[in-house]
């Protein structure tokens, strides 16, 4: 396990520290950080995973959405120490073996993004939705992404992108894959 991937700041300029070990996208990662470090900063600054965006920083916009033990959460409102020993999934983990996740394909095929800032969070929220409910209605999709704000698209193509992914994943499981 890798500890302190980034050098810790000196004691005179910072407060109590904690050593945090998490599994991120299947890999054991860790660093020693201030107890007040938010999960989103831990991912971006200590682990170098900048795919998770910081948007509003006030629990409104959902740009920082990651999966914590499989549940979609806003990583600007979770402390890194709270993730100790837990499983974190970020947008970087969606592509496997050079193959995009069906949700990523859906966002490409249906033009589910314009500026792209909300997209990582929007996709992680979609992944959590489809894991829990593989055949969501439009209403259920809209409810599920109600904590993720997009200021470009008007959501129409985002909904289509998630439907695209649901159909694709459905076809895949019908073809014999889990």
């Amino acid at each position: 396990m890798v500890l302190a991937e980034m050098p810790s700041p000196s004691d005179e300029e910072s407060g109590p520290f904690a050593s945090v070990h998490v599994t991120v996208n299947g890999k054991a990662r860790g660093a020693t950080v201030e107890t007040r470090t938010l999960l989103v900063h831990f991912l971006r600054e200590n682990l170098g995973l900048t795919g998770t965006h910081i948007g509003c920083d006030t629990t409104n916009c959902g740009a920082c959405t990651v999966l914590l033990d499989g549940r979609a959460v806003k990583s600007c409102t979770v402390l890194a120490v709270q993730a100790e020993g837990r499983d974190v999934q970020t947008v970087e983990g969606l592509e496997t073996d050079g193959k995009l996740h069906p949700v990523q394909e859906g966002f490409i095929e249906e033009h589910g993004l314009q500026c792209g800032f909300c997209t990582p969070g929007m996709m992680m929220c979609s992944v959590a939705l489809l894991q829990k409910n593989p055949h969501p209605t439009e209403e259920q999709i809209r409810r599920a992404i109600s904590g993720n704000l997009c200021r470009c698209t008007g959501y129409v193509n985002i909904v289509k992108a998630i439907q695209h992914a649901a159909n694709k994943m459905d076809g895949r499981s019908a073809g014999g894959r889990a």
Partner: protein
């Protein structure tokens, strides 16, 4: 925004958590879901010296019904209420509220215990607990005590919970078959705090009249408000519009809304009446076996 510095503890038992709270003498805060606490810390509205994270304490997350009561563990997530068939079928008021609290991502972390003990008059669950006649089980250095919801809310962000006590369980009288309840929330946009919320709980007797009633209001006073006179006015009456109109008027009488970005005070007061009528109609419909 980054919260101010604090010492972090993740105790593995309630006893240990209580000892830590006691040691810090009011300078420590309990971290449950953190969906209200971390934002207020970022804004420097709270600067606790220590956070006592109760998420590592086992067996604080449950929803179960026994012979007397529905019992909800303090760390039960808001979305667990949404996912519970027991809640949906027998305590629909809690499903109504849980579906409208913040957004699905916040509900994955936010806890029932945190929602009821934070003391925010705009939180949705306190009014539901007042209408249902819930009790809060709290543990402190001297042991456990049970506080009725109506004695819990003292002022904005001020509750009967001492700084060295932790709310561990919410105890709600077991639902009867001739009972119905509902929570009506008016919001400016999905996921927002309410402009106004009204919680209603009705128990009908064999003759079909109202045996007991609970009615409580969100976001129109310094705390969630229990409309005691409105509740009394309903007892013995037929569950019909005339009785609801009287109760709604009495409920308006205890509301003291403040005009803000969510609407002027007069509008909020008018909405207390409208939502009280709707909540009572819905509660009665559910008591008769309707959806």
């Amino acid at each position: 925004m980054i919260p101010p510095r604090f010492e972090y503890f993740a105790p593995s038992s309630i006893d240990e958590a209580v000892q830590l709270l006691d040691r810090f003498g009011g300078e420590a805060k309990v971290l449950a879901g953190g969906q209200s606490l971390l934002p207020v810390m970022k804004l420097r509205l709270a600067e606790p010296k220590a956070l006592i994270d109760i998420n590592r304490i086992p067996a604080l997350s449950y929803i179960r019904e026994d012979g007397e009561a529905l019992r909800i563990g303090a760390i039960t997530r808001t979305n667990d209420l949404n996912d519970s068939k027991l809640i949906h079928n027998r305590y629909p008021i809690l499903s109504d509220a849980a579906h409208e609290i913040a957004d699905p991502l916040v509900r994955n972390l936010g806890t029932v215990g945190g929602n009821v003990s934070h003391g925010d008059p705009a939180n949705d669950l306190p009014a539901c607990m007042l209408a249902l006649g819930a009790h809060f089980v709290v543990q402190g250095p001297k042991g456990t005590r049970t506080i009725p919801a109506h004695a819990f809310y003292q002022d904005t962000f001020v509750t009967a919970l001492e700084s060295n006590e932790i709310l561990t369980e919410i105890e709600i009288p077991k639902a009867r078959s001739d009972q119905g309840n509902a929570y009506m929330k008016l919001e400016k946009r999905v996921g927002d705090f309410p402009i106004v919320g009204v919680a209603a709980n009705l128990v009908l007797n064999a003759k079909g009249t109202i045996e007991s009633a609970g009615l409580a209001l969100t976001a129109v006073g310094p705390t969630a408000l229990k409309a005691v006179e409105a509740e009394r006015s309903l007892v013995g009456k037929a569950p019909e519009t005339a009785a609801y109109e009287k109760a709604a008027e009495l409920a308006q009488g205890i509301a003291s809304p403040v005009g803000d970005l969510r609407g002027p005070a007069d509008y909020k007061l008018a909405m207390v009446r409208v939502l009280a009528l709707r909540a009572l109609h819905q509660a009665a419909s559910r008591a008769r076996g309707g959806a």
